[in-house]
């Protein structure tokens, strides 16, 4: 059975896509840019960061483009004053929730949160900082997990589970108390499941996961080609 091709309108332009595709996929294929943080090509979309929210005609709610499938005749708006306001608020909340001191962060200049703030024209954070006391887990021989920089995008959790197949990472607790944990909340260095592959480090959009002993100039993220890895793995099976 072939997948039907649907037509829709994105920002006034008529486009088409497969019925299995999301708004984000079709928008990007047609050159529209929608900001994302938790989404990464090759990983399951979870729609948690909410940056990719778009407006749909006929609906007052905003819809995350990364997990909303296209529909025939859909009319999508990817950027508006309202969307920009919400996107800025999301970034501001992420900055205020944990301790992000860009100046002393090892991925300063290579950070997706930092560049998104700049792209969205964010020049200050209007919310008060919470300044939570968070640990830094440096027990692993090669990598470090700094909870102060974590934005809970769960890219590390998904890449470890879906691509590496180790499922070392998971999320404990709920809401603002959520933390990324290794192996049922044990120090990363004691993990018996971690293969040390470093995929989590390189898909992390911020300085939450980084390589030990690398300076700011060296510690830029090299996201592995996840769709390629996934495809070759499927062939092996």
């Amino acid at each position: 059975m072939t997948t039907p091709i649907l037509t829709l309108t994105i920002d006034g332009k008529e486009v088409s896509g497969l019925a299995t595709e999301t708004i984000l996929q079709v928008a990007r294929e047609n050159g529209f840019s929608i900001p994302t943080l938790c989404w990464l090509e090759g990983l399951t979309s979870v729609g948690s960061c909410r940056l990719c929210m778009v407006e749909l005609r006929g609906s007052t709610a905003l819809h995350p483009a990364c997990i909303t499938l296209i529909q025939e005749g859909m009319t999508v708006t990817t950027s508006s004053e309202r969307l920009l306001r919400y996107r800025r608020a999301i970034i501001e909340l992420l900055f205020s929730e944990r301790n992000h001191a860009c100046a002393v962060c090892v991925v300063n200049g290579h950070c997706e949160l930092q560049s998104l703030a700049q792209q969205l024209g964010l020049d200050h954070i209007s919310f008060p900082g919470l300044y939570p006391a968070l640990p830094v887990d440096a027990s692993h021989s090669r990598f470090v997990m700094d909870h102060n920089r974590c934005i809970l995008c769960t890219r590390c959790v998904r890449v470890c589970s879906e691509i590496e197949g180790a499922h070392t990472w998971d999320v404990k607790d709920r809401g603002i108390r959520s933390r990324i944990v290794a192996d049922l909340d044990t120090p990363w260095g004691d993990s018996t499941t971690c293969t040390g592959c470093g995929k989590c480090v390189h898909v992390c959009p911020t300085g939450a996961l980084f390589e030990k002993g690398k300076s700011v100039a060296e510690m830029f993220k090299k996201p592995p080609a996840l769709p390629y890895l996934k495809a070759t793995r499927a062939q092996e099976v």
Partner: protein, 177 residues
């Protein structure tokens, strides 16, 4: 043209923003055509003057003395500029907010094996528990993020302010970098 009265204020910063301003080098001479520097760590004036057009503030608010000075500066300034990440977000001084000032001082001054471990307590301002950005205390007209903002950024901003363009300043600056 009447010269604008410019002040720069150094609160709990590292002076990096002022160093960056000095880094504008010979362009500073261009700026002096438009500005009189009436108060700054770079000039020897003790009292913050009346009727200042633009004040650029470096550093967050970290002590009751900072708070007092900021309130006075706001009253006497037409256009208040938060210069650099510390004034904009709290940045590095705000890293102590996690545990609070007393715990930080204890940790630094007595936490190691020193000959005379003691927290300095006389003739210096008492630290607030938290270092906070200036817009948490008074309205700020313009934010320039960056640690420090580059000399180009500061020069562009000041030039634009001379022309009265407060809304449309193209700032390439971002937090940190």
């Amino acid at each position: 043209m009447k010269k604008l009265r410019l002040a720069t204020l150094w609160l709990d910063g590292c002076s990096g923003c002022h160093m960056s301003l000095l880094d504008a080098d010979e362009r500073l001479l261009e700026l002096t055509a438009f500005f009189d520097i009436v108060y700054s760590p770079l000039v020897d004036v003790k009292q913050f003057p009346e009727k200042v057009d633009i004040t650029c503030i470096e550093g967050p608010i970290s002590s009751p003395e900072d708070e007092r000075l900021l309130a006075e500066v706001r009253k006497r300034t037409r256009l208040l500029v938060a210069m650099g990440d510390c004034a904009v977000t709290g940045n590095i001084p705000a890293m102590r907010n996690i545990e609070g000032a007393p715990a930080m001082l204890q940790n630094i001054y007595t936490g190691q094996e020193l000959l005379q471990p003691q927290v300095p307590g006389t003739d210096i301002p008492i630290l607030n528990d938290k270092a906070l950005p200036i817009h948490h205390f008074v309205p700020v007209d313009l934010f320039i993020p960056g640690c420090p903002p580059s000399a180009d950024t500061l020069f562009t901003t000041l030039t634009a302010l001379v022309k009265g363009e407060t809304d449309q300043i193209p700032l390439p600056a971002c937090f940190g970098a």
